[in-house]
Amino acid sequence: MSNTPQTEQFWQSTGVLLVCVGSSPSSARVVRAAKRMADAFGCPWIAVHVEHPHESKDNQRRSADILKHAEKLGAEVVTIAGDDIAESIIEYARLRGVNKIMVGKTGKGLISQLIHASLVDKLLRLSGDIDVLVVRGEGESLSHKTPHAKLLRFRLNHISGTVLILTVCMSVSALFKWYGLADANIVMVFLSGVVLIAGRYGRWIGVVASLGSVVLFDILFVEPYFTLSVHDTQYFIMFAVMLVITLFVSDLTARIRRQADIAECHERRTEILYSLSRHLATSSGVNSLVSVVQTQLSVIFDADVSVLLPDNNGGLSSSYIETKFIQNNNEWEAARWAIRHNHPAGYGTDTGHNISGLFIPLGTADKVLAVLGIRLKDNSELSLERKQMLESCVTQISVALEREHLAEESQKALLQIEAERWRNALLSSISHDLRTPLAGIAGTASALITIENKHEKPERLQLLENISIEANRLSRLVENLLSLVRIESDRAVLKKEWLPLEEVVGSSLQALRHQIADRRISTHLPENLPLVFIDGVLIEQAIINLLDNAAKYTPQEKGITINANIEGENVVLEVQDEGMGITPEEMPHLFDKFFRGGRKPSGSGLGLTITKAIVEAHNGCIVAENITNGGACFRITLPIGGQPPLLDVTDFETIS
């Protein structure tokens, strides 16, 4: 890369970084370098491994490890299948809008250098406007040793097949020679044989076969017979041509076979996923979903599968399913860990000691809805390919589970709304049916009082007034009971607004003006009290109850004081009287339902209970205490509720 404007552009742009992951240990270092770079630019990064069906088990495992490492470092991990690594990477990079590709270079060994150089070169050639970064790897490349070992491992049937074909070639050639056909025809026979061998058994047997053909041809059909000596250089050309064709054909067939393998593998994967998704789509309800997952996955992976659902108590339940392999606490612990951390646990992970089976959380990034436990029947670890297969399945199952979960939630919400509506209807019909006759009684009494001759029959008037007073008391009790039920059953009933506390105190005093008309009332509210986020009607009710209480339990000549001030994030309101205070026996029961102070049982015994319920519905608290110079003090603490809204009207001048 040059250091001129292009470089600058690279450093400035964010975009997406792609890092190529192979099986060599140096890949780990490349991955770390990529992580540092992605961090530095705050860009997302993708670790890509190009899958090879003929990759050795060891290499597959190493690649998987490195990918796992990358995932832990925060990369998106992707495996793509393709025959040509460079082409596949560039194609994928364009698809994802990647603007930088990072690839490692390994320095050991001529062959590895040659192979690597070709990958890097090809990437550079194909990359176009994508930046390609080559970083130094470290350590020895292991990935190119295995092919050497492998090429020597001829299979027995390959050798016998080769021998058979060459024998047939020899026989046909002998026949040709017998009929006196030209050497070129014999060469063609051998060439056909070699092409057949290369196509069927691969490159290295093809090379051996072409060498063998040349030797056989030389010995059997070229003068002097039965020697290896050659007088004519044309046979070297024949050998070279055969070799080239062998290499070409074997390479071609190998490539075709590899692609066929990959295609087959993908087709199988797609088929399985399609069938799974079809089954998931037709299942309804979590239980049926769970059983679908269990049967499908155990067939696909030939494994024991369990789906564990978290229960309401933070534990796990598996009531619907057999848990064949979850036998001891280790497995349960792994499952719980997976749910708690929303991360796979168990066999094949970091947290996999002594645990048979892998536990994968199902759900979204924010919420785990279940955990999938899987253990292969042969107790082995999943291959890379099957791991990816499992991941795809997990994604599908998670989507289906989330769908079920959302359906359940909305069903629950619907039920709640229904219950709410029903309760409200019940409450309002009760309140209507209680209020109306009480209104009749109270109204009739007051009508009679109005028309009664006040001077002739004072005792009749007294009786009528008793009816009126008692009817009103009964109606207050009804109101109190209904509002207590409302507040206690549903906090959502609060209709909070930004209010000046002073206004609520004022309206409470106004509502009780008849009861407190002859008393000394003093209010001490600081001028700079902020607006408070409260339900005015309910807080008014709370203050009324406190004032009413003070008026009821203290003699007429005693005063009542209301104080307010700010304490941190809260506003504190006190209602003080100058009475006898609260006795130690009364103190613990003050806020109990239907508790009345012993001295003057005229109330309903619900006032303080309601006040407490209202204050607690506002996330506030209420305390009662005796003050030093006599009298009781009720102190309400309410959260102010944040920053009050601003006014955008400028209106500060007075009219002159």
């Binding site: 209507h432 209020r435 109204g443 000046p500 004022g506 309206s507 106004q510 006014l647 009207v649 209106d651």
Partner: protein, 232 residues
């Protein structure tokens, strides 16, 4: 004397209303359904007492129907005690709202306020009185000056406008919505805290103890009322 139309299906309520009101000299007509009530309206009563839970229709529905052609004062008497219902009834044109059970005196006082208001409306169409006096509060609408106990107080333009709107409806509950629309304009109709903040300022200037007001009363969850000293 004034004529009263009572639309109420509960006999216990309508019969005691009849006794009280006739005792005070009102002329009474009682109907038990909305349909009958609307048909009697052609006799032009001076005031309507309306129950909301009527057998044939909801009383709430017929308020706007009456308001389409008449400003006859309407007082709601209902067992529905929720602020939501009160605000709704007032906003669609009711003059006052009493929750059952209510006292006879309270009803009579509210009726007098409503009738006085409607008489003033009838008598002085288009020409407001230049001077307003209510208890210790007096307003000179021409000079735009406000006095409390003969001491002049200085208001900002919006405070003054708020006070004049309240004074023009003395004794009647005005909803937050109504005040916001009248003083600030339709744009501010959902900004309840505006009217609350300005009302607090106004109280600080007018009331001796703003935390125990004598003039500017709060109907919690509904709105405000400038007290009518003749009644209280």
């Amino acid at each position: 004397m004034s004529s009263v139309l009572i639309i109420e299906d509960e006999k216990a309520i309508s019969s005691f209303l009849k006794v009280i009101l006739e005792n005070k000299g009102y002329r009474i007509t009682i109907t038990e359904t909305a349909r009958d009530g609307l048909s009697v309206l052609s006799t032009m009563p001076d005031i309507i007492i309306l129950d909301l839970g009527l057998p044939d229709r909801d009383g709430m529905e017929i308020i706007p129907e009456i308001r389409e052609w008449s400003q006859i004062p309407i007082i709601i008497v209902s067992a529905r005690g929720r602020e939501k219902d009160k605000v709704m009834a007032l906003d669609i044109g009711a003059d006052d709202y009493l929750t059952k059970p209510f006292g006879a005196e309270e009803l009579l006082a509210r009726m007098r306020v409503a009738l006085r208001h409607s008489n003033r409306f009838k008598n002085t169409v288009g020409e407001e009185s230049a001077h307003y006096v209510n208890g210790g509060l007096s307003i000179d609408y021409v000079a735009r000056r406000v006095f409390i106990d003969d001491r002049e107080i200085h208001l900002t333009p919006l405070e003054y406008r708020l006070l004049t709107v309240l004074s023009q409806h003395t004794g009647k509950v005005l909803t937050h919505q109504f005040l916001l629309k009248e003083v600030w304009g339709v744009k501010y109709i959902s900004q309840n805290h505006y009217v609350r903040v300005f009302m607090a300022n106004l109280r600080n200037k007018i009331e001796k103890d703003p935390a125990y007001p004598q003039y500017l009363l709060t109907e919690q969850g509904i709105g405000y009322r400038l007290i009518d000293f003749i009644e209280e």
